[in-house]
């Protein structure tokens, strides 16, 4: 078993526990153990974009400092929001020595952060492990299942934190192809889902998900794959306000776990649009 330091993020303990369970199961099958090596706190969820308010970056850099002092050189997370926030803060302090000095002085209750941690998203770890390895573990290829991989914003933008080409990403497509799924592409799969406006301006989220779901449905998608708990909430749970007949939305890790024969780790019952009838109809679920 190989090991890597793991940053679960707050949602993984509760609203996105199916994301975590399926991800840990997939990595274990691939010979990797994701280990919580340091006392992590909320990443901050959004990167502070002003030049003069470092407070917005404290929680991200505090996590990096704790990871570094625990001896972690790389940390991996499944959540696209955690990934983006940690990675942007990491790039910022590497670029801006004064900001790092200031943050270290402010966090006088932590060991200094020296910029020695690399932040990874679990899709990057999968790419590193290799598509061949993923293919080898497949016991139930998702043949005939048409999946639209939804990247959203935070894995692709801004450019300096993109895990793939921000205009033509294919990292999730490749992983899903390796487990036998058919890929549905659409430009809207890189759109913003409306993000936190689900709290204060739901109409933005509803218009966005309507557009995304209608587009991939026209292209014949059976379901959407996501990599972010907020995208999942907006695309899946907020469908209840669309009244259009549901399109299932699953985490990419649930699909891999299913293909690996680990359906007990998928927790499909946690979705608003129940994917089980579809998966049963395709003979992928008993």
């Amino acid at each position: 078993m190989k090991e890597i330091a793991y940053f679960p993020g707050c949602t993984h303990l509760h609203t996105a526990s199916h994301f975590e369970r399926s991800a840990l199961s997939v990595f274990e099958a691939l010979g990797w153990r994701l280990v919580e090596k340091f006392n992590w706190i909320c990443c901050g969820t959004v990167h502070g974009l002003s030049t003069d308010n470092l407070m917005q970056n404290v929680s991200a850099v505090r996590n990096l400092a704790r990871a570094e002092s625990a001896g972690a050189r790389r940390i991996v997370t499944n959540c696209a929001m955690c990934y983006n926030t940690l990675k942007q803060a990491n790039e910022m302090v590497k670029r801006d020595e004064d900001a790092l000095k200031n943050l270290n002085e402010f966090m006088d209750d932590e060991p200094d952060y020296r910029g020695g941690v690399e932040v990874l998203h679990s899709l990057q770890l999968l790419r590193e492990i290799g598509l061949d390895e993923i293919e080898k573990r497949v016991v139930k290829p998702l043949e005939g299942l048409r999946v639209a991989p939804y990247y959203g914003c935070l894995l692709l933008r801004p450019r300096e934190v993109a895990i793939d080409n921000p205009e033509r990403p294919k990292i999730m497509d490749e992983v899903l192809k390796a487990i036998g799924a058919e890929i549905v592409r659409d430009a809207r799969l890189k759109y913003c889902c409306g993000s936190y406006h689900t709290v204060d301006r739901k109409e933005i989220v509803l218009s966005r998900i309507d557009e995304i779901i209608s587009a991939v449905r026209r292209r014949g998608a059976d379901l959407i794959a996501v990599a972010c708990p907020l995208c999942e909430f907006n695309l899946d749970k907020r469908q209840k306000f669309l009244n259009k007949g549901g399109l299932p939305v699953l985490y990419f890790t649930q699909l891999i776990a299913l293909a690996f024969g680990k359906e007990e780790d998928c927790l499909f019952e946690k979705h608003h649009v129940d994917p089980r009838p579809l998966l049963k109809e395709r003979g992928l679920l008993r």
Partner: protein, 127 residues
Amino acid sequence: MRKERELLRRVMEISGQNLYSCYQCGKCSAGCPSVDFMDFTPREIIRAILDDHEEVLHSQTPWICAACFTCTIRCPNEIDISRIMEALRQIRLRKMHDGIHPSKIPVDELLELPQIALISCFRKMTG
């Protein structure tokens, strides 16, 4: 007394972006997925700041922008427009003008929303 181009100076300072390099091509606004909900397009916002129109401080646009960075990666002059929106929000937030009031969110919504939705929303919309 009102200082000339004070808003431009503040926005450039907080955002770290050079607004003078904008040549109004409109790629930011063409790609913005939220533009339908905005009262000024991102291009118009930049123009208004350059023209010293302080009314943009009361525009809904910066509060609609959710920092998806689509404009940022497409700007031919490498202006990070997300940071300009952040600067406009910050100028208001720093004077106790919040974009949302957490205590007014209905309880049944609070019981359903995932943590990251609330945390990110409050970070962007409360000061």
